[in-house]
Amino acid sequence: MASVDVTTQENSTAPAANGPVESEPNDAMKLAVRRFLGRVFAVATTLLGLLFLTFSMGRLLPADPVLAITGAEVSKEVYDRVFKELGLDQPIYIQFLNYVKKVLTGDLGVSAITGQPIVTDLMTIFPATVELAIVAMIVGALLGVPLGITAAVHRGKPIDHVARVIGLAGHSIPTFWMGLMALFIFYAKLQWVGASGRVDVFYEGLVTPVTGFLLLDSAIDGNWEVFRSALGHIILPGSILGYYSVAYISRMSRSFMLEQLSQEYIITARAKGLASRQVIWRHAFRNIRVQLLTVMALTFGGLLDGAVLIETVFAWPGLGQYLTRGLQMNDMNVVMGAVLTIGIVFLIINITSDVLYRILDPRTR
């Protein structure tokens, strides 16, 4: 309704040359920009609050970033020197303000545990995580959506129960254990995949990073051996991570589908004599795409920071491990940098799914 009001208002003040037909997309554009800015503002405020909370909580942790650097046997003199170098001698609110000031200029500080600027760390870590999350997402969607839809179509029948068990197993078996078992089978016994890191040690440094996504970089470089090795390393953690999200995706697909299948238009379609496959995929599925998109977007966000255990088992140099290590050693620059990155990713996911909604759902146009 709001959009109609705005359109009429602006139409009344518009010069005669601009007919209502031409001004409509213009107004819609303005509205979209306004909405977008509003959202960015809301998220920015949220991010600031999130940073403040993270920062304050970090200061309550018993871990000592100085000792993480110097070791526990360090003398008083060296301790004090490093303490000061890290800026820990300032009051907490000053530390926080200094931090925010720097963030606004694009400087996320230096990590106490890697000695590198956070931005440099994130340049290698973030693509590694996103690459893993994308593979996981593909596995999760390819398994989860058909599983959920099949379950809905065969509601209450054995196939529905089997689908439920398959989904829940992925969610309830500890990923840590599943990772080790999978390594035992696919790495140690079958020797199909690599065990740790992003690529075999022999291929380290052979491909110059362009995008940071090793699969893409090696393909661009035409180095197919590295590509194969990289694929062999990502496929197992990616699949396990993807399988973990199957439960959520398939349960959601199932309930969305059930809702659609009880609608009148489905009964009509069936009455018209359409084949069951057509009814499900052409009619019902089209209508759950938007809802599924929300589920996917949320799952993807969760995969970015929720992969700590898998990253540890597979020594995957990703964001989850980075953040956890930062927390353990109270390296606040790392923690805040990672939190900020995740926050921004959620912002982007939100905006992207907004745009996709508009494309997929004619009612929102």
Binding site: A72, K76, V78, I113, T114, S196, V201
Partner: protein, 529 residues
């Protein structure tokens, strides 16, 4: 273009899995070490002395002298071919070899050596703790450590100190000799090249750094022109593999040649594998129980004595401690001068005796205290203590977490931890366990464990001071014996149960890899059969 790329992508993806099989096992001229690279923020020698990073640095930089892994108290030449100590013990003169070059091609000179030592003191980072003890300060170091000519280095000692201690410290990884010209050409804001050296190497060692990604991987390439001969391994890779189960599988598959920080369960399994060798390298440190003397209950000598009998250490000696320590109850490490031949008969698990001691101290109904591990690594050990102490009248409330910071600030009641030192002399351990020159809170002498327990024993302070200055080996032996006896008889607040060992797992075809007690493990002579 995109279509082609996509097609190529898919073809490669389809063929990837079966072809990977051929790639397993590291090549014969490459050594892969599976380790934990957490917390290494720089590869600058002056900023480091922890275990893993010491090994990495020791292969990039040569020292003036080195210690053989099998005879720690015997100094061997490295960049210095010979050295003399003046009769008054105040001047060490070292002659440097003339055939050593840095990876840049610059020759190694006494000027580089002097500058490297001065730099450690001036930087004042962790590495400086290794030599600052001998009286060097940023103000005096330039005059005291100097190049007499291109191949003669003079080290003048500002305070009386046993010259062997000084020479041992020169073998430590933080005193690696750096290429002055190269380092200074990358200097920024007067950092003496530190920012650049964090991720680059400028040494004369058998390897040069070719890749470094913190928390992920370090790749080292052999220096073919190394003065000691080209290493057999053309490349060494240290890879971060934090999960012990994964590391074990990679060792067994042959993708990893040497494994460090393997958990005890996996060590048990690997010990049964004929293709693996486990080398438990003795370390200069102990597993101990610390009792905070600011706590009025724990101050009582009878309570401290009761603690000696509250821990069933024999029960864990065969399992969780099998590879990480051996029973030891003296503060002088086994095999060192002044060490007892056997120290394991000093206190045994005796719940009845502990209870009686507690009753005598005024706690007939037992005593409740909070127990913390120093960190995750000592948690299993802490759980064992909690269980056995219950029968001995102690109700210990175990709170897990990272408690080293609290220990350093004396904010704990009972803590269980482990220590490490690198100087191969009992003096290093005695300083930690028996020395506390200022017991006030504001002194913040967190590097001394005895300060952390808030106890001060003037007699021990004097003995430790003497052990640093004394030049006569026989007299030093007597001093350490005396420290041991004094310590034992005072019911110390640091109760030692095990001496630490560090297990290294190697594939049986790896030869010449010897984990070093002082952590300066070198790869120069490593071969693979």
């Amino acid at each position: 273009m995109m279509k082609h790329l996509l097609a190529a992508f898919l073809v490669a993806a389809a063929t990837a899995v079966p072809q990977h099989q051929a790639l397993a096992a590291s090549p014969p001229n490459m050594l892969v070490i599976g380790t934990n690279l957490t917390g290494i923020r720089t590869l600058d020698p002056a900023d480091n002395n922890a275990r893993t990073v010491s090994e990495l640095i020791s292969n990039l930089y040569d020292n003036l002298v080195q210690l053989a892994p099998d005879d720690l108290q015997k100094l061997q030449p490295m960049l210095a071919t010979k050295w003399t100590v003046s009769p008054d013990g105040k001047l060490i003169t070292m002659t440097l070899r003339s055939d050593a070059v840095f990876q840049s091609g610059n020759p190694v000179t006494a000027e580089d050596a002097a500058w490297s030592i001065q730099r450690v003191i001036k930087r004042g980072q962790v590495g400086s703790t290794d030599i600052a003890l001998w009286g060097f300060t940023p103000e005096n170091v330039e005059t005291l450590v100097r190049a007499k000519d291109a191949h003669t280095l003079e080290i003048e000692l500002p305070i009386p100190v046993n010259s062997d201690l000084v020479l041992y410290s020169l073998a430590g990884s933080s005193i690696g000799i750096i290429d002055k010209k190269t380092a200074l050409s990358h200097e920024a804001n007067g950092d003496l090249g530190s920012a650049w050296l964090a991720a680059n190497s400028a040494g004369s060692g058998p390897f040069a750094l070719s890749q470094w990604r913190p928390n992920d991987i370090a790749v080292f390439d052999a220096q073919k022109k190394y003065w000691g001969g080209a290493p057999a391994m053309a490349r060494v890779v240290a890879r971060h593999i934090p999960e012990s189960g994964n590391l074990r599988l990679q060792l067994q598959a042959g993708d990893v040649d040497v494994g460090q920080y393997v958990a005890s369960g996996d060590l048990d399994a690997l010990s049964k594998d004929g293709k693996m060798v486990i080398d438990s390298v003795p370390g200069l440190g102990f597993y101990y129980i610390a009792l905070n003397q600011k706590d009025p209950d724990l101050q009582k000598p009878l309570v401290r004595e009761a603690f000696q009998h509250a821990f069933d250490w024999k029960a864990i000696a065969g399992n969780i401690m099998r590879y990480t320590g051996f029973p030891w109850q003296s503060v002088v490490p086994r095999g060192m001068i002044g060490a007892p031949s056997d120290s394991t008969g000093r206190y045994d698990y005796d719940p009845a005796k502990a209870k009686a001691l507690l009753a005598q101290a005024g706690y007939p109904n037992g005593l409740s205290k909070t127990l913390n591990p120093s960190g995750a690594a000592t948690l299993p050990f802490t759980e064992a203590l909690q269980a056995s102490a219950r029968a001995a009248g102690f109700n210990l409330n175990l709170v897990p977490g990272e408690y080293t910071p609290a220990f350093r600030e004396r904010k704990y009641e009972v803590l269980l931890g482990n220590s490490g030192a690198r100087l191969p002399d009992p003096f290093a351990v005695a300083t930690q366990y028996a020395y506390n020159p200022d017991n006030r809170d504001e002194a913040r002498l967190g590097s001394y464990y005895l300060w952390r327990t808030a106890m001060q024993v003037p007699e021990l302070n004097t003995l430790v001071d003497q052990s640093m200055k004394e030049r006569d080996a026989g007299k030093r032996t007597e001093i350490f014996k005396k420290i041991d006896v004094t310590y034992k008889s005072m019911n110390p607040p640091l109760i030692v149960f095990f001496q630490r060992t560090d297990p290294y797992v190697m594939r049986a075809n790896v030869k010449g890899y010897h984990g070093h007690t002082t952590w300066s493990t070198r790869w120069h002579h490593v071969t693979k059969e």
